[in-house]
Amino acid sequence: MWEVVKSVLAAFFGVQKEQRRCEDFQHGRAAVFITVGLLMAMLLVVLVALVAVVAAR
């Protein structure tokens, strides 16, 4: 699972090792990546909103 999170984080950042990319495509299941990606996108929104609330104080 931690490997999936790391891959999604790398995708958010926009940079990934070619070797890791191949591994993900061989072993991983698409649904898992999509679910984790959606959850982490929500997390990002919450994080940005929190920063905005703190900044607005």
Partner: protein
């Protein structure tokens, strides 16, 4: 050595041209409010960050082009993927953007805080003039282009403030927080005064807000910044910032004048009086479409001189000025002009430029018409 000289010359000419641009007023002005100063320093901070990025990026690019040129036998490296470089060139812009966002957010917060104002002014854009209502003060007036039409037609030399002068400037006090509420009667306009760092759209059906606290008394000029039709260039803004005491006196005088004019509604006005006042109103408000000689600009703006249909039907003339013409360019003046002004301008139109109806319209009649 030669390379160093080239770099030095390049750097000096860049810095020099930036200095020239600023000295010639091509840069954003520092302005006359604390906030406009903050906006200016934010602008300069971001500008210098961009200059630094540009120098580094183009420096590396031109250096590489020159140092590893084909003529010197350079061979292109052929590789794919370099995690370290990719992470660095993604992380650095991210950090730069966050670094820019911090001061930008601080300034934006200040810009949007229009709370606890000492004075509220409703600014209404109209084709093609600005109307100012001092909310709760019983003072309201319309600010029209002050540049003589002869200058616009090129028959006279341009004045010092050509197209940047008005008949009645907006008057505000220094050292007090003034909140502006912006809206429009017709199309989208934009109220822009660079020295106050205010550029706010005025949109029909919406209220936008902005605020100023001016530090120095003075006259500050601006223009409509949203293309709004034929006379977009002819609706300038002049803000007169006064010392607080002088402003209070001005406001009291304006209030007294308004109530005096309101009293004038009930009395009978002589023809000469109506014609004189009517000409003032016509010159300020009607002239941009219907022209000085009443010839208009058909078909959009009909002629008033020699318009027999208008002269024959006095009631229709009153209706047209009070309520405007639906679906045409003629606006309703019921809220823009007071009954004295409406009566005077209709009387003027019915008896100027060879029109000889001989009849007059009394302010009391208009007041009654408006209360219907």
């Amino acid at each position: 050595m030669r390379t160093l000289l080239v770099w030095l010359a390049g750097g000096l000419s860049l810095a020099g041209s930036i200095q020239v641009a600023m000295a010639n007023g091509w840069n954003m002005p520092v302005g006359v409010t604390e906030l406009s100063g903050n906006i200016h320093s934010l602008h300069m901070t971001i500008f210098w960050i961009c200059v630094a990025i540009g120098v580094v990026v183009f420096g590396v690019m031109f250096y590489s082009l020159f140092r590893y040129r084909h003529a010197k036998g350079a061979k292109a490296a052929n590789f794919h993927e370099n995690i370290v470089v990719e992470v660095v060139w993604t992380a650095i812009p991210l950090l730069i953007l966050i670094g820019m966002a911090v001061p930008a957010t601080a300034t934006l917060k200040q810009m949007y805080d229009a709370s606890e104002a000492d004075l509220d002014i409703l600014v209404t854009g109209q084709q093609w003039r600005w109307r100012y209502d001092y909310l709760g003060e019983d003072v309201a007036f319309t600010s029209n282009l002050g540049t003589p039409r002869a200058q616009i037609r090129g028959e006279e030399a341009f004045g010092e403030n050509y197209l940047l002068e008005v008949d009645e400037p907006l008057v505000v006090p220094v050292n007090r927080k003034v909140r502006f509420l912006f809206t429009s009667d017709d199309v989208i306009h934009s109220w822009w005064v660079p020295d106050l760092a205010v550029k706010q759209d005025s949109v029909p059906g919406f209220i936008n807000e902005n605020w100023v606290r001016i530090d120095e008394p003075g006259v500050y000029r601006g223009q409509c910044a949203e293309l709004c039709g034929k006379d977009h260039a002819f609706m300038p803004i002049v803000v007169h910032a006064m010392e607080e005491e002088a402003f209070d006196t001005w406001l009291a005088d304006r209030r007294a004048a308004a109530s005096q004019e309101a009293q004038g509604i009930d009395r009978e006005w002589a023809m000469d009086e109506l014609m004189e006042r009517g000409e003032q109103v016509y010159t300020a408000v009607c002239v941009s479409c219907h022209q000085e000689d009443g010839s208009g600009n058909p078909p959009a703006f009909p002629a008033l001189a020699g318009n027999q249909a208008l002269l024959d039907d006095r009631d229709r003339h009153i209706d047209t000025v009070v309520d405007g013409v639906s679906g045409a360019a003629m606006p309703a003046f019921r809220s823009t002009l007071n009954p004295v002004e409406i009566a005077a301008v209709i009387t003027y139109e019915r008896n100027a430029w060879g029109n000889d109806s001989g009849d007059s319209v009394q302010p009391s009649e208009i007041a009654e018409r408006l209360s219907d």
